[in-house]
């Protein structure tokens, strides 16, 4: 697929079209830094003075580039699709190559950053178990009841929570069986067909 650019985005990027590839690379570095850590307006002023253009133009250029990168990563554009998309904006072969380098080099990282921003559910981290035999309690001596203590560690938005749980042998076997069926389900013909067809 090709990216569809909005007019304002095209206009913002048009400033980059005429830049020297070296300068464009510098813009690429700044954009990546901003994607990682957020924008820093001071950088715009410095660059604007050096290039002798209004601060706003530089700002729009960098923001346009950031948007280009995040959108391309969002749709996981192939190299060819990326180049074709950029070509419609009028970039020369040299600058296109510079942009493609920037995209391929940082695609993973930007995807990771996007992944971090995405909605997440509390997810499994770790499970520890131990096997105990209850021998006596205040109200009943001479017991013999096996119990399995479990510590389940889950993570939600970077915060880890551990939950203490307990179960008995019968339920442990039951639980293991049920989850094994769950794992098997992913290998079923139905699931494999769906996975194959969703691209």
């Amino acid at each position: 697929m090709l990216l569809a650019f909005e007019d304002s985005h095209k206009e913002h990027l048009s400033f980059l079209v005429d830049l020297d590839p070296e300068v464009l690379k510098e813009f690429g570095k700044i954009s990546m830094n901003f994607i990682r850590k957020g924008t820093n307006p001071k950088v715009f002023q410095g660059a604007a003075q050096k290039l002798g253009v209004p601060v706003e133009t530089v700002q729009h250029g960098v923001e346009g580039l950031m948007f280009l990168l995040t959108e391309s990563c969002k749709y996981m554009l192939s190299e060819i699709d990326f180049q074709d998309s950029v070509m419609t904006l009028g970039f020369s072969e040299e600058t296109r190559a510079a942009l493609l380098d920037l995209y391929t080099e940082h695609q993973r990282e930007v995807r990771d950053i996007l992944q971090e921003m995405s909605m997440d559910l509390p997810h499994y981290r770790d499970l520890e178990w131990r096997f105990d035999m209850q021998l006596a309690s205040r109200s009943l001596r001479h017991q013999m009841s096996p119990s399995i203590l479990l510590r389940l560690v889950t993570e939600d938005e970077g915060e880890r929570t551990s939950t203490m749980l307990e179960t008995d042998p019968v339920n442990l076997v039951h639980m293991t069986r049920v989850l094994e069926t769950a794992l098997q389900e992913m290998k079923s013909g139905y699931c494999r067909r769906i996975v194959r067809n969703i691209k």
Binding site: P122, H123, Y124, S139, L150, M164, C191
Partner: protein
Amino acid sequence: MELSASALEHLSLAGDATHIPDKSFGKLVLCACQGVLLEEHRDVVADNPAFKDLDKAVLKSGYSGLVTLLLEAAKHDSTEQTISTILEECKYTPERVKELNKIFTIQKPHLQLLIGKIGSSFPHIVDIDWRLDYYMKNNHMEKVNSAVYLISLKTEVAGETELKEVQFSCSLEQLQDLVGKLKDATKCLEKISQV
């Protein structure tokens, strides 16, 4: 098993034929067992017609003495021998000792099951639900395309009537890790049970 002086005194009252006739004794022991086991039978002794001719104060003391004995005996898993020794000290006739032991032996497993449940524990897993989703995209990203399992552990919590849930999600790899660990635990259990 040791009983306090007051408990022994109450127990002696229950065994005294001048206060509690032989025909009522067996019923009283049974009443004591059921009073412990079933909540709705807790106060039944007060209105039971079998005991209507008895002195209420004596009945109450005797009943409490018997309940104490039964609970302590169940707690320590006492033998008939131990119980007999205590009862003989409380001047019980051999017939009454035999009658009490007969009833207790039948009720002991039930009593022990009940008092075994008392105590603290972590939420106890009794069932597990799962659901398999295919995570396709979100507002930031297209083509995420990965399998996600939503797992819900049903747990029993002491003092709560309804089951509680512990929910979390995991990827295919994480579920493999989880199942692997549970299998280890199951294997360990099987080994122990064979020893």
